[in-house]
C-alpha cells in the first residue's frame, strides 16, 4: 500500500469521525431544544412565590469547598446567604488554605469558634476547628487539614443536616433563586430525583456580572471569554439537557451539584482518588442505581443559577481544560464495564459510548487530522479547494450548533442584551479557528497526563476582582 493510499484513508477516517461526532451533536442539540421547551413550560406554571415561603419546601445544606480562594470566597458566601429559600444552611469548608481565605471569612462574617460533634459518615483529613457566624445563624465554617476538594466536600457532608446537599464552587456567584429553581423538580418527586445540576455561565468577575439585571446582562468584550461563554452554552443546552432527557446525564457539574444526602451516603461520598469529583460521582451513582435496577433520575435544568469565574489567559484555560479531560478519561476508564452493556440502559448504550467517542478519543483523531491533512495537501492527495470548503462547512456547522445553544438560552432566560447575542452569533463560526486549537492542546495534554497517572489539580491563580469582592 502506497503512502498516498494510507494518507487518503487516514483523511477519510478523520472525516468519518468528524461527521459521526457532529451528527451526534446535532441529534443532541435538537433533543436539548425539546427538553428546554418542556422545562420552560413547566417552570412558567410553577408557583415560585409559594415555594419560597412554604415550610414544605425541602431544606438544603449548601457545601462550599475552598482552597486558597481569598479573592473570591466572600462574594460567593454572600450570594449563598442571600439565596431566596425557606430553609438552608451554608457550610464552608476551608481545605487548609495557605492564603487569607479563613481570615477574610472571619472578618466579614464575624466567625466564632464552637465545637460541633458531627457525624463521621465519611473519613476525612482532620478538622481543625468549626466556626459559627455571629451574624448569620445558618453559616458554618469548617477548617480542616488539606485533603483535596472531594475530601473537603466529604467534611461538609459530615456536617450537613438536611435531606439534600448542594456542592458548589468557591469561585461562583449564585442567583437568588438558584436553589429554588434547582430544587423544583426534586420537591415534586424526591423519591426519584437523586441529583440535579443547572446551567451556569462564565465571566471574569462573576459578582459584577450577576449584579446586572436580566435582559441587560453583558457578555465580556474579550473574544477569549466570549468563546468560553459559548462553550458553556453548548455544553449545557446542546448536551446536558439532552442527556438529562434520555436518562444519561453524566456530569452534575461541581459548581452546582444538588444531591439527595442519603444517596451520597449510600455510595460512600465524594471519591478522593480522581482528579475531580463531579463527573466520577455522577458515573458512580448511575452505575450503582442501574446495577441495583432502581428507578431514579439525575437532571440538568436550563435555568441559569449562577456565574462562575473563567480563566482570563490561555495558560489558565489550558490548565483547567486539561484537568477536565483527565477526569473524563479517568471516569470512562474506571467505569468501562458500563460501556455498551445493556444492563446499564441508556448510560451504558449511549452516554458512555458518546463520552468515549466525543471526549476520550477526540485528541487521537485531532492529532491524526492535524498531522495528516497538511501532508495530504502537500502530497496532492487532497485538493486545497476542497479542504478550504470543508473548513468552511465545519466552521459554519459548528457555528449553527452553537447558535442553537444561544437561541435555546435566550428563549429560556432573555438574560443578555440583544447586541451581545448578535456578537455571540457572529463569533460562533470563528470558534473552530480561534478557540478549538486551545481546547485541542488542552485535551492532548490532559490525555498525556492521564496516561502518566497524574492526578494533580494545578490550581490557577484567580482573576483580580472589583473592590466589592
Amino acid at each position: 500500500m502506497s503512502a498516498d493510499t494510507v494518507l487518503h484513508w487516514i483523511v477519510v477516517v478523520c472525516f468519518g469521525y468528524l461527521l459521526l461526532v457532529n451528527a451526534a451533536y446535532l441529534a443532541l442539540a435538537l433533543a436539548g431544544l425539546r427538553e428546554n421547551r418542556d422545562r420552560r413550560r413547566e417552570s412558567s406554571a410553577e408557583d415560585y412565590e409559594v415555594l419560597a415561603r412554604s415550610r414544605f419546601t425541602i431544606p438544603v445544606s449548601v457545601i462550599l469547598a475552598a482552597f486558597d480562594e481569598e479573592s473570591a470566597i466572600c462574594a460567593t458566601v454572600r450570594s449563598l446567604l442571600a439565596l431566596d429559600y425557606p430553609e438552608h444552611e451554608v457550610i464552608v469548608v476551608d481545605d487548609g488554605s495557605t492564603d487569607a481565605t479563613l481570615e477574610r471569612l472571619w472578618a466579614e462574617f464575624a466567625l466564632v469558634p464552637y465545637e460541633v460533634f458531627a457525624r463521621r459518615i465519611v473519613e476525612t483529613a482532620q478538622v481543625r476547628a468549626v466556626y459559627r457566624s455571629a451574624l448569620h445563624p445558618n453559616l458554618r465554617v469548617v477548617a480542616k487539614e488539606n485533603g483535596g476538594k472531594a475530601d473537603a466536600l466529604n467534611a461538609g457532608l459530615n456536617h450537613a443536616r438536611y435531606r439534600y446537599v448542594c456542592g458548589v464552587d468557591a469561585d461562583t456567584v449564585f442567583a437568588p433563586d438558584a436553589l429554588l429553581k434547582g430544587m423544583r423538580l426534586a420537591m415534586t418527586d424526591p423519591a426519584r430525583v437523586l441529583g440535579v445540576t443547572s446551567h451556569l455561565t462564565i465571566a471574569l468577575d462573576p459578582e459584577r456580572t450577576m449584579a446586572e439585571p436580566p435582559g441587560r446582562r453583558r457578555v465580556d468584550r474579550r473574544a477569549f471569554v466570549a468563546f468560553q461563554h459559548l462553550d458553556y452554552l453548548r455544553a449545557f443546552f446542546n448536551n446536558r439537557l439532552a442527556w438529562s432527557r434520555y436518562g444519561f446525564m453524566l456530569c452534575a457539574v461541581g459548581a452546582f451539584q444538588l444531591w439527595r444526602r442519603d444517596v451520597l451516603e449510600e455510595v460512600g461520598g465524594y471519591a478522593r482518588g480522581f482528579t475531580c469529583e463531579d463527573i466520577e460521582l455522577t458515573f458512580r451513582v448511575h452505575e450503582h442505581y442501574r446495577r441495583l435496577g432502581r428507578d431514579y433520575t439525575i437532571l440538568c435544568l436550563p435555568d441559569n443559577v449562577g456565574t462562575t469565574e473563567g480563566p482570563n489567559t490561555v495558560r489558565k484555560l489550558v490548565s483547567q481544560r486539561e484537568r477536565w479531560q483527565r477526569v473524563i478519561d479517568e471516569s470512562v476508564w474506571h467505569y468501562r464495564r458500563m460501556l455498551l452493556n445493556p444492563r446499564y440502559g441508556s448510560v451504558g448504550l449511549v452516554g458512555t459510548p458518546f463520552y468515549l467517542l466525543s471526549e476520550v478519543l477526540a485528541p487521537l483523531f485531532e492529532v491524526l487530522a492535524v498531522v495528516s491533512l497538511p501532508l495530504a495537501l502537500a502530497a496532492g492527495v487532497f485538493d486545497p479547494v476542497v479542504f478550504a470548503l470543508v473548513l468552511v462547512a465545519v466552521a459554519f456547522a459548528n457555528g449553527a450548533l452553537t447558535g442553537l445553544a444561544v437561541l435555546s438560552d435566550d428563549v429560556h432566560s432573555r438574560l443578555y442584551r440583544p447586541r451581545d447575542l448578535a456578537r455571540l452569533l457572529l463569533l460562533a463560526p470563528l470558534d473552530l479557528f480561534l478557540y478549538r486549537p486551545v481546547l485541542m492542546w488542552s485535551r492532548l495534554k490532559g490525555t498525556w497526563r492521564f496516561l502518566r497517572g497524574d492526578k494533580g489539580w494545578y490550581k490557577f491563580e484567580r482573576n483580580a476582582r472589583g473592590a466589592g469582592a
Partner: protein, 338 residues
C-alpha cells in the same frame, strides 16, 4: 468533481443553517422585546373568551396541554364565570401538570370553594400533594375546621398532611391530633408530634413525652424537637437520655431540644458529662457550650471545677474553641472599657 460538489453543497448548507439559527435568535428576541414593551408577553391575554374556554376545557397532546394551562391561568385571573367548573375538572385531570396548574390557581383564589377543591385534590393525589399542601398552607389558620376531618381519612398520606397543616392552626383539632399520636402509621405520629410542637400548646406536652420512646426513630426525633418547644424544665431529664439514642438524628434532635430548654436543662446534662457513651458526653458538652454556660463560667471565674469537667467531656477541640472565645470576649471587654 463529485466530492467537490458534495463539499460545496455541505458548505452552503452549513452557512445557511448558521444564518437561519442566527436570524431566528435575533428576530425572536426583537419580537420578545416588542411584546414586552407593549405588555403583551402572554399570548393567552390576547385570546378571545370563547377560545380561552375551549382551550381550558380539555387538551390533546403536549402543545394542547400547555395551551390549556395558559387558558386556565388567564380565566382564573379574569375571574371568569366558567373558571370554577373548568378548574374543578382540571384539578382532577390525570395529567399532573394540568392538575398542578389548577392547584396554583385555586390557591390564588383562596375562597371556601377553592379550599374544598384543594382538600379534594389532597385526597385524590392527582397533583403533587406537597404542592397542594403548600397552597393550603397559605390559607391557614382559617381553614383549620376543614382539615380536622382529614385526620380520619383511610389514606395515611392524607392524615400526614392534615396533621402537618394543623400545626399552623392552633385553634383547631387539638383533641383529634392528640388521638392520632397513637396512629398506627409512624409518619402520621411524627407529623402529629411536629404539629403539637408547632402549635406551642404546652398542655399537649404529656402526649409528646409519651412518644419519646417510640419504636420509630423519626417519631422520637419529632417528639424530642417538640418537647424542646413546649416542654418544661423537668423535661430536660426526659430528653437527655436520648443523647445516647442508637440513631444519630435522634441524638441531634435531643441536642436541639435541650438547647431550646436553655439554662434550666443544665442540671439534667451534668450527669452525662461522665457518661460511658462518647456521643452522650460530647452531646452534653456541646449543649452546655451552645447555651452559653461555658463562656459564662469562664468569664466570671466561679465554678472552675465544673468548667474543667465540661472541657474534659468536650475534648481538645472543644477546649481550644472555648479558650479562643474567652480571649475574644476579653478583647471585647477591654475595648469597651477603653
Amino acid at each position: 468533481v463529485g466530492l467537490r460538489t458534495a463539499v460545496e453543497l455541505a458548505a452552503a448548507a452549513a452557512v445557511l443553517a448558521w444564518l437561519a439559527v442566527a436570524l431566528a435568535t435575533v428576530v425572536g428576541r426583537a419580537g420578545y422585546e416588542r411584546r414586552r414593551r407593549t405588555g403583551t408577553l402572554a399570548r393567552s391575554g390576547a385570546w378571545s373568551e370563547r377560545r380561552l374556554v375551549a382551550h381550558a376545557a380539555s387538551h390533546r397532546g403536549e402543545a394542547g396541554k400547555w395551551r390549556r394551562i395558559a387558558a386556565l391561568r388567564e380565566l382564573a385571573r379574569r375571574e371568569h364565570p366558567r373558571s370554577r367548573t373548568l378548574l374543578r375538572t382540571a384539578v382532577r385531570d390525570r395529567d399532573r401538570d394540568v392538575a398542578g396548574a389548577a392547584v396554583k390557581a385555586l390557591g390564588d383564589r383562596g375562597d371556601a370553594w377553592a379550599v374544598e377543591q384543594l382538600v379534594d385534590a389532597l385526597r385524590r393525589d392527582r397533583a403533587s400533594r406537597s404542592r397542594v399542601a403548600a397552597q393550603l398552607e397559605r390559607l391557614t389558620p382559617a381553614i383549620g375546621p376543614r382539615l380536622v376531618p382529614l385526620l380520619e381519612d383511610l389514606d395515611p398520606a392524607v392524615r400526614f398532611w392534615a396533621a402537618t397543616l394543623l400545626g399552623l392552626c392552633p385553634e383547631h383539632g387539638r383533641a383529634e391530633l392528640v388521638r392520632h399520636a397513637r396512629d398506627p402509621e409512624a409518619n402520621v405520629r411524627a407529623a402529629v408530634m411536629e404539629a403539637l410542637g408547632e402549635r406551642g400548646d404546652r398542655s399537649a406536652a404529656p402526649v409528646v413525652r409519651a412518644l419519646l420512646g417510640d419504636a420509630e426513630w423519626f417519631v422520637r426525633l419529632h417528639a424530642c424537637r417538640s418537647l424542646g418547644r413546649i416542654g418544661e424544665t423537668a423535661d430536660a431529664a426526659r430528653v437527655a437520655p436520648l443523647l445516647r439514642d442508637r440513631n444519630w438524628w435522634v441524638r441531634a434532635a435531643a441536642k436541639d431540644a435541650l438547647r431550646g430548654l436553655g439554662l434550666p436543662a443544665v442540671g439534667a446534662l451534668l450527669p452525662y458529662l461522665e457518661d460511658a457513651d462518647a456521643f452522650a458526653r460530647n452531646g452534653a458538652a456541646e449543649v452546655l457550650q451552645d447555651i452559653g454556660l461555658v463562656d459564662t463560667i469562664a468569664a466570671h471565674g466561679a465554678g472552675r471545677d465544673l468548667l474543667e469537667r465540661i472541657l474534659a467531656a468536650g475534648g481538645e477541640g472543644y477546649r481550644a474553641a472555648a479558650l479562643v472565645r474567652a480571649d475574644l470576649a476579653g478583647h471585647e471587654e477591654r475595648a469597651q472599657a477603653g
